[in-house]
């Protein structure tokens, strides 16, 4: 236990001293902003695809437009969430990591939902990107950076009787 406590203390001291973030955190930040761009792009694409529909059957047209607008809103909201996660990573906010994971979860959920209803092919690209992000977000240095930040913000815990051993 003493070793772990020492490592965490060192990490807190590094952050206190304003030393640069580990490179996996910087890469994750970049990837999150890229994801945000992609999602906003998908939102715009879905809007265009819905608006430019020229179906003769009015009922079908309404359904397609409704579905397209739903996707527009969903991807738009996810894009905003990705921006929030990116800024969370930028500032190493304690909500950064959970927001990024939530974003990946929601993206995967939407992708799987669309896949079940006959997905457009770009969905697989989104799925793949999210899977890679999930793996990357579990990089030990990324997690350590956020947990260290949390420890820095909270009071340093007094070692318990077992830690004193």
């Amino acid at each position: 236990m003493a070793n772990i406590v020492d490592t965490q203390k060192q990490a807190v001291e590094m952050l206190d001293a304003g030393e640069a973030r580990p490179w996996p955190v910087r890469v994750s930040t970049l990837l999150l902003f890229l994801e945000a761009l992609g999602l906003i792009g998908l939102s715009v694409y879905s809007y265009d695809a819905a608006v430019l529909q020229q179906d003769s059957d009015i009922l079908e047209l309404i359904l397609i437009i409704f579905s397209g607008l739903t996707r527009t809103i969903a991807f738009g909201a996810l894009g905003l969430l990705a921006c929030a996660a990116g800024f969370g990573f930028l500032g190493l906010w304690r909500t950064g990591w959970p927001t990024a994971m939530l974003l990946q979860g929601l993206c995967l959920l939407v992708s799987l939902g669309l896949h079940l209803r006959g997905a457009p092919p770009y969905i697989f690209g989104l799925m793949g990107y999210c899977i890679l992000m999930v793996i990357y977000l579990h990089h030990p240095e990324v997690q350590q950076a956020f947990q260290t930040k949390q420890l820095q913000e909270s009071k340093w815990p007094e070692p318990g009787p077992e830690e004193r051993l």
Partner: protein, 614 residues
């Protein structure tokens, strides 16, 4: 050791037992209890038969030999449940006379402290009580009234002491008998039963001047065994009043704890054991490989109890703010009865010390006496008190140096023996090597050469084993030497190094649940069941999606109450990533195979070209 020496030793270290406010039963003299009991026998497919009515039973008569067949179960019956009038009368009287500061208050409910799965299994457990044999609900009240009568007649708090000498340790056993265990009916616990035996052990060693010193203490407790039961005398967790260890007794259950607090005890349902084993393995895999790094884990990866949703959770309240019995307490122990040389009621009576409720899980059946298990076999704590607490491998402190010396001598003898063998086999190997070399260039000796080669290989392997053993022995010798030096310098091994799983009371942070969380815990199972029925009746087409949504919402609310949102999100996302990965794999199987082959080929080519350029 003479009986007087045993008595003095028992009294010198007798424990202080502290109870939770509202506790109704305290250790009593078994003779008083036996006189108030009747003796019964239960034979297979027969009605229970009363052998002796209450008032006629004595410890001597209890121990009389009886023969009702191999499958007969003998048991005592302490009390009959009260009728409605008696209950009402008692409740009114109790309401008028009881002081509010003597009443037990549970605090945050047990269900709010555990997960959803456990609450579901708990609901099944509660339903099972309707079908299982159990002690009738009002027996606890009747037992408490009867116990109060006994106290009025003769207020006496006593224990039964046993002194055993085993492998140079002196073991002091303190046995406590309670007339009733009302954990279920009084404190929302797992079971109720008549009669309750509890025990603690103190392990002493003699120094060179034959003075006894305490070294270890072990308390019998739910779910724990072996090394985890004991604490060293200098462990901070063990409280003491002078030379008297403090025991915090669970309310109603009377289980023993080292620290005051509220303990989450989890009961495993026997038929769920395979499922529990499987989920435990899955959980270990998940925690090790998939869940994020957690700074709260200790260095050895222990996070306390691995939570299982298939165990039924119960809270054991060992708050210690109620009555204390023992030295410097409100009540003191009466003169102990020594059972080192077991009296007949200990050794001859193998039956149960209260009602046999015919519960297949055994939780509601009364226990057997200090010497026996419910099935009549001898308790390990009785025949092997050292092994029971994992002390069979631990020598008393004063013997450590001499044991190290003896072991070093043995190892040295081993080493000289091995060295002689190495010398001999080495010479043999050389000779065989020479012989093999001489056969080169003679085709007619091919078979003989092959045989010789095989012999050489076997001997070489043997020699290698001996050398390895010798190196290990040298290393052990060195380690023992260093250990002896440390002991001579007065160093002791870490006080808690032997503990793999310690039982800690629930922390105040983890039970700081608001009223809303408690209400949620109480109603969530019902809500889930109602939702399933509503979906099945009104939205059968969307049943699967509906069930998934209901479960997701419930789990989300649950995670919010427990402050585990991050963990929840992480787990769900990882699950979704796995499913999506499978979808991609199935959709693009051939493309993935081709890409993998191309990438591998390219990588190999790149590595080879790099090697050429060096």
């Amino acid at each position: 050791m003479t009986p007087e020496e045993e008595r003095l030793l028992l009294r010198r270290f007798e424990p202080v037992v502290k109870y939770t406010k509202g506790e109704q039963f305290f250790p009593i003299d078994i003779e008083q209890y036996i006189r108030a009991c009747s003796l019964w026998v239960q034979r297979p497919n027969r009605y229970p038969l009363r052998l002796l009515p209450e008032g006629e039973l004595t410890p001597e008569r209890l121990a009389e030999p009886r023969n009702h067949g191999f499958d007969a179960i003998y048991y005592l019956k302490f009390i009959e449940p009260l009728n409605v009038t008696e209950i009402a009368r008692h409740r009114i009287r109790e309401g008028l006379t009881r002081k509010s500061d003597q009443v037990f208050r549970a605090g945050p409910g047990r269900l709010a402290r555990v997960g959803y799965g456990s609450r579901f299994v708990d609901a099944l457990f509660s339903l099972s009580l309707l079908a299982r044999g159990r002690v009738p609900g009002d027996t606890a009240l009747a037992a408490s009234i009867a116990y109060l009568e006994m106290l009025k007649e003769n207020e006496k708090y006593c224990y039964y002491g046993r002194v055993v000498e085993q492998s140079d340790w002196i073991v002091l056993q303190y046995w406590f008998f309670y007339t009733y265990n009302n954990w279920r009916s009084g404190y929302v616990g797992a079971n109720d039963h008549e009669g309750d035996w509890e025990m603690i052990c103190i392990y002493l060693y003699r120094d060179d001047e034959e003075q006894a010193h305490p070294e270890w203490v072990a308390y019998a407790s739910h779910d724990f065994s072996g090394d985890d039961l004991r604490r060293r005398w200098d462990d901070e967790e063990l409280e003491k009043v002078g030379e008297h260890p403090v025991v915090y007794a669970g309310a109603g259950s009377h289980a023993s704890y080292f620290q005051e607090g509220e303990y989450l005890a989890e009961i495993e349902l026997p038929f769920l054991t395979p499922v529990i084993r499987f989920t435990r393995r899955l959980q270990v895999f998940w925690e090790k490989n998939i869940l994020p790094y957690d700074h709260r884990k200790s260095a050895d990866g222990e996070t306390g109890l691995i939570f299982s949703i298939f165990r039924v959770p119960f809270v054991d309240y060992a708050r210690g703010e109620g009555l204390g019995i023992g030295p410097q307490q409100e009540k003191v122990w009466s003169e102990p009865e020594i059972i080192s040389n077991p009296p007949a009621w200990v050794s001859q009576y193998r039956g149960l010390w209260g009602l046999f409720a015919q519960d297949p899980f055994a939780g509601e059946n009364a226990p057997a006496g200090p010497m026996y298990n419910r099935d009549g076999t001898v308790r390990q704590a009785w025949y092997d008190p050292l092994g029971w607490a994992g002390l069979d491998k631990v020598p008393p402190p004063q013997e450590r140096l001499s044991l190290i010396q003896a072991r070093r001598t043995e190892i040295k003898a081993d080493i000289s023996n091995i060295e002689a063998q190495i010398e001999e086999k080495s010479r043999e190997l050389h000779k065989m090597g020479i012989e093999l070399a001489s056969m080169r260039g003679f085709p007619h000796l091919r078979d003989a050469r092959d045989l010789q080669q095989a012999k050489i290989n076997a001997l070489s392997k043997e020699l290698d084993q001996l050398l390895k053993q010798s190196a290990m022995d040298e290393s052990s010798l060195e380690t023992l030497h260093l250990y002896a030096e440390r002991i001579k310098a007065g160093e002791r091994s870490p006080v808690r190094a032997h503990i793999r799983r310690a039982h800690h009371p629930t922390t105040s942070e983890s039970i700081r649940l608001n009223k809303l969380a408690e209400i949620w815990a109480a109603v969530s199972i019902g809500i889930m069941m109602f939702s399933f029925i509503l979906l099945a009746v009104f939205a059968r087409d969307f049943l699967i999606y509906g069930i998934a949504s209901v479960i997701s919402v419930i789990v989300f609310v649950e995670a919010s109450f427990r402050g585990q949102i991050t963990r929840f999100i992480s787990s769900i996302t990882v699950g979704l990533a796995v499913v999506s990965g499978l979808v991609i794999f199935v959709e693009f199987f051939w493309a993935i195979v081709v890409a993998a082959v191309l990438v591998s080929g390219g990588y190999i080519m790149w590595e080879n070209i790099r090697e050429l350029r060096r």
